[in-house]
Symmetry: C2
Subunit: 414 residues, 2 copies
Amino acid sequence: MNTMISEEIKTTKGTIVSPKGFLAQGIHSGVKKAKLDLSLIYSKKTALCSAVYTTNIVKAPPLLWCESLTKNNNKIQAIVVNSGNANSCTGDRGYKDAVLMAQTAAECLNIEKESVMVTSTGVIGVYLPMENIVSGIKKLVPTLADTEEAGINCATGILTTDTFLKSITVEFEINGTPVKISGIAKGSGMIHPNMATMLNFITTDANIEKELLDKAFKSNISDTFNMITVDGETSTNDMAVILANGCANNPIINKEDENYEKFKKALHIVTEELAKDIVKDGEGASKFLECKINGAKTKDDAKILIKAILNSNLVKTAFFGQDANWGRVISAMGASGVKFNPDKVDIKFKSKTGEIELYKKGKPLNFDEEFAIDVLKEREIQILVEMKEGVAEATGWGCDLSYDYVKINAEYRS
Amino acid sequence: MNTMISEEIKTTKGTIVSPKGFLAQGIHSGVKKAKLDLSLIYSKKTALCSAVYTTNIVKAPPLLWCESLTKNNNKIQAIVVNSGNANSCTGDRGYKDAVLMAQTAAECLNIEKESVMVTSTGVIGVYLPMENIVSGIKKLVPTLADTEEAGINCATGILTTDTFLKSITVEFEINGTPVKISGIAKGSGMIHPNMATMLNFITTDANIEKELLDKAFKSNISDTFNMITVDGETSTNDMAVILANGCANNPIINKEDENYEKFKKALHIVTEELAKDIVKDGEGASKFLECKINGAKTKDDAKILIKAILNSNLVKTAFFGQDANWGRVISAMGASGVKFNPDKVDIKFKSKTGEIELYKKGKPLNFDEEFAIDVLKEREIQILVEMKEGVAEATGWGCDLSYDYVKINAEYRS
């Protein structure tokens, strides 16, 4: 069931252990009542690591541990993740717990604890049940495997209120050598530009220099994970990380040539797909919104405008209500802080049913309300804005605001 | 039914026409199906005017008209307001309609159109039904009165999705001469710091210099109307305005003496009360939240933190769910952009039932969950945060996010 993305990069059936040299697993340790809640990704060889962390200044203890590793450019061999409890706002005791998670995994795997990243996601401000976690890690490590089942368990163990598993694998060749990149994600709620609440773990067997790995990863993130929003919140915990273990044995990617571009493009497919999946699974979301701004003065302007539109509760509730309320779009743009001339703006909404022109050169257009309802009935809708201020453009993704968002978040802790 | 606010300033039964020299009225003109939708405030003498407008760069045509008047320090004699249609994003035709509203009122009142402010609130992007508006103004002017009924009609005609009328009158003496200030407001939804979607009209018969009127009004607004939020949105239309016609004939307030301080304090009571009423009537709100930050480095820091907390959908849904989820409060603070040490922060929630300490010096506290539910069952709740970074403090007001917010805004246009 391979799908051609381009001549050279294919999405393929696979899991986080599809790239060579990776093992994984996910089990139930007892943080949650019954669901899988503890996952581990392991690389047989130490791997290069790029990571991006939340911009929230209240950072959870496990993130502080991970940052200390990546700041020192440590090679990484394992990532331990628990769901159900974020180990956040838990002070010194929380930090000791995070280190104990790394240490326990390191002992079981017979590696240095400084090569073990630790991540937690779930409720804030409750100490981790360390007995469950420690015995869970000891139980998990012997079951690490490179099977599809192990990969799926691992992807499942990182989820919280997610309603579906998020995973993608792509393959391509570097000078005739097959290389794979695979990613899994946890999203749902509290998703916002600037590396907000989500976990993204990406594995690749590509042989690539650290500097180029960093460059490719960070540029992809700014156009994918940082261009999605569910509710404008940034969490204390979340991060995106890629491990590259070189096990594909391709000729090393060490300059910005066509091999680097191919790697970057393949990685972009992975990060964009995971980013979109996170939004599609936004808490209570009934609509998937893609917002494209064209003709902006700068790309930054375009991105700020997109976030203002997609974070507006009034825009989001209008789409939930299937109402072609373009006035809320232009109003959100006007409040964004970006300078532009409203009298030049065009706004259209589009879905697979068709396109509705709503606003042209600062003037409302008459449109067929019945057709508009048909267009907005679809689950996937595009908001298309033409600024006529310049040539910059950007795209971002968001979702509507529904009764279920309120329900999920009013009842989450209990 | 007078209530003593302090020895010198009393809230009193009254309406927008309680200060001397003002007349008002509100009628049904046909913009809305049946409810009152057209109001007018008139001062027998031209009045000094201070006004603050939305920060949204997409400004509705009537606001552009008003700004042109106040920029030139025009004296104002009338304010015409329609509800049900915002005359926003309506381009040149919208501007001509706004001017025609001013002109029609001016002709009926036999005054200059440059002394007539015009305001509209309601749906965006639809041209005004000018036939109804023009004949409405002609019908309204002969019925202008200084009766309680006229004042209530005027306050009612400016409302949109509001569920109650917002009005307050205070009285005090300047060197033995009685002076009154009265205000009415339209709020509900799209309320946000920076003079967002609300209309506030204040009348006073005080005799005061323009410069001091401006100073008192602007400083009050930054601590009242600009410290409330319902959904973080800023609209294209809204504004706060005060007319001072001097009809009380008090000795003029022309320096920052105790008379000025008394005037400022009285005005503060009016603006704070209207601001709180707007939040209490936030769309779908079931909780009224007062957030106090103490011990911040600067007042600006405190204000930014308050807005971050009160605009967080996760915080708002937690209060709707009566969940003592202080983790979302500290997380919202961490994402606000303000620099602080989370390890010094204390967080408490308080209502008339009692107080719960939740977080102290960066550590979660054990608390009685049943008592917490009792505390959070109340309609009015305080979020108390101690930063221990400095001595600055601020207070702001917001509301929860409920199913009804989604319902109201998903169905508003239809």
